[in-house]
């Protein structure tokens, strides 16, 4: 690729000088002046196809431009535009040449670029059957590739030289299989099957390596084999989340075993309605754990009545006091719909972080003064109850980001498969 040994000849159609870059390998070449396609397999230079009209088309990467990709210096020797069978989807293919590596391609569709070269071995068509989507797969070098597209490709425009006899209007059957960032393409023409393997390349790399000064084509949608920007770390994030949740579960499990939840204390009292609150003092109970969560349950026999109890939890040794209020109310009756009830005869609260020590309760009960009945109530204390709220809050905080990431991944994949007839999300997309 020293640039000095270019062979030239005169175009048999218009007489312009035509250069051959891949000498001895090019089978067809397009005259840059009249766009006639010339057979370059021998020195007779027969016209393969006369140009119907000269289209002013300037490839983004000019012929003869050199650029390094995956460690090899390539020269652009040909460019063609192709379209699918419906003439709605267009893409551009640049033929690259390197004297030692041979031919390769870079393709551009919707602003997405791929570097393609011939497959080293013939992929195995496994035709594995997926019950849900009936997806076909092929296996190449031990890796499965999923069918993305099956259709035809028609040559719309050519310029430069090619290693086969290309003609405008040439049609081939194509199949694309993906395993992002790779793509495996099959082109079938008559009995000839050609497999190519490709890799997604960032547009910025193409621009930089091939010294493109023109604006690059606008990127739209997600390419079949594009890798999401978050792909590099998403797997690790999921691993970390699993690890952290396991740690939280382990701590909770340890707390569960250590908690040894048991009822320490039950004491009953009787309250007769009066103007002033009635005071009670419970017996003592001991908490042996360094710190405990206590569940305090108030139950009463109120009937169409209520009772409020102010509770002071007092440490016998330090005199430290924790105060809180509890109450129960229960109403019932009959109406046109039958029996109804409202409220509950039981109420409970949990107080956390109680240091070990000896405690008793001071209670102050107040009931309905207009209802002169006696209310019996009891207070029970269970220590070592677990704070499950904490557990769910922390697990929630830990899964928040992986959940968001999973949703982004799913959205990205749905966009990737949006144009495919073989989308695993097809039924979902049809429903939405």
């Amino acid at each position: 690729m020293d640039g000095k040994s270019l062979k030239t000849f005169n175009c048999p159609q218009c007489g312009s000088i035509v250069e051959i870059r891949a000498q001895g390998l090019s089978l067809s070449i397009v005259c840059s002046s009249c766009r006639s396609i010339i057979d370059s397999s021998n020195e007779t230079y027969q016209i393969l196809q006369k140009a119907q009209k000269v289209i002013a088309y300037k490839p983004l990467i000019p012929l003869g431009r050199r650029g390094k990709l995956f460690g090899t210096l390539w020269e652009v020797i040909g460019c063609m535009e192709r379209a699918d069978g419906t003439d709605t989807y267009y893409w551009t293919e640049y033929l690259l040449f390197n004297p030692t590596k041979g031919f390769a391609w870079i393709t551009e569709a919707n602003g997405h670029w791929n570097f393609m070269h011939k497959a080293r071995i013939l992929p195995k068509e496994t035709n594995s059957f997926n019950l849900r989507n009936m997806l076909n797969k092929v296996n190449y070098l031990g890796k499965d590739y999923q069918l993305y597209h099956r259709g035809t490709a028609r040559v719309k425009f050519v310029i430069g030289e090619f290693y086969w006899r290309v003609q405008i209007g040439d049609e081939t059957k194509v199949e694309d299989y993906i395993r992002p960032p790779e793509i495996l393409s099959l082109e079938e023409s008559g009995t000839e099957k050609t497999w190519s393997i490709g890799q997604y390349v960032e547009a910025a790399d193409i621009k930089k390596n091939f010294l493109i000064t023109e604006p690059m084509p606008m990127v739209s949608g997600v390419s079949p084999n594009q890798i999401a920007s978050f792909h590099s770390y998403s797997e690790d994030i999921f691993k970390y989340a699993t690890l952290f949740i396991s740690i939280i579960c382990f701590i909770q499990f340890y707390a569960l075993v250590d908690a040894n939840s048991k009822s320490d204390f039950v004491e009953s009292f009787s309250y007769t309605s009066r103007a002033e609150p009635m005071n009670y003092t419970s017996g003592s109970f001991e908490l042996n754990h360094q710190y405990s969560n206590l569940e305090i349950e108030l139950s009463s026999d109120v009937d169409n009545n209520w009772i409020e109890v102010g509770v002071d939890l007092i440490n016998d040794e330090t005199g430290e006091n924790r105060e809180f209020e509890m109450g129960t109310e229960f109403y019932s009756g009959y109406d046109s719909d039958g029996r109804w009830t409202e409220g509950s005869r039981k109420n409970d609260i949990v107080i956390s972080g109680i240091p070990k020590g000896k405690y008793h309760l001071n209670l102050q009960a107040l009931g309905n003064r207009s209802n002169m009945s006696t209310v019996n109530f009891s207070v029970s204390i269970t220590h070592g109850v677990l704070a499950w709220k904490n557990f769910f809050i922390f697990v929630g905080l830990l899964v928040l980001f992986p959940l968001l990431l999973w949703w982004r991944q799913r959205t990205f994949e749905m966009r990737r498969w949006a144009d495919s007839d073989y989308s695993p999300f097809r039924s979902h997309q049809e429903n939405s």
């Binding site: 970390y240 701590i251 707390a255 107080i351 956390s352 972080g353 704070a387 809050i393 922390f394």
Partner: protein
């Protein structure tokens, strides 16, 4: 991003170990700003 989540997760696990050991109820601690074990922590189930 990986490092940020790693740091975030480690901090959460440490806080969880702390609140579990000292029996602190998180919602109450956030509301009262009392993160010590002697904080006034009462909640209705």
């Amino acid at each position: 991003m990986k490092k940020t989540y790693l740091t975030y997760g480690v901090i959460l696990c440490l806080i969880y170990a702390y609140v579990s050991f000292f029996g602190i109820e998180l919602v109450d601690a956030v509301e009262t700003g009392k993160w010590s074990p002697k904080g006034h922590s009462v909640y209705h189930k």
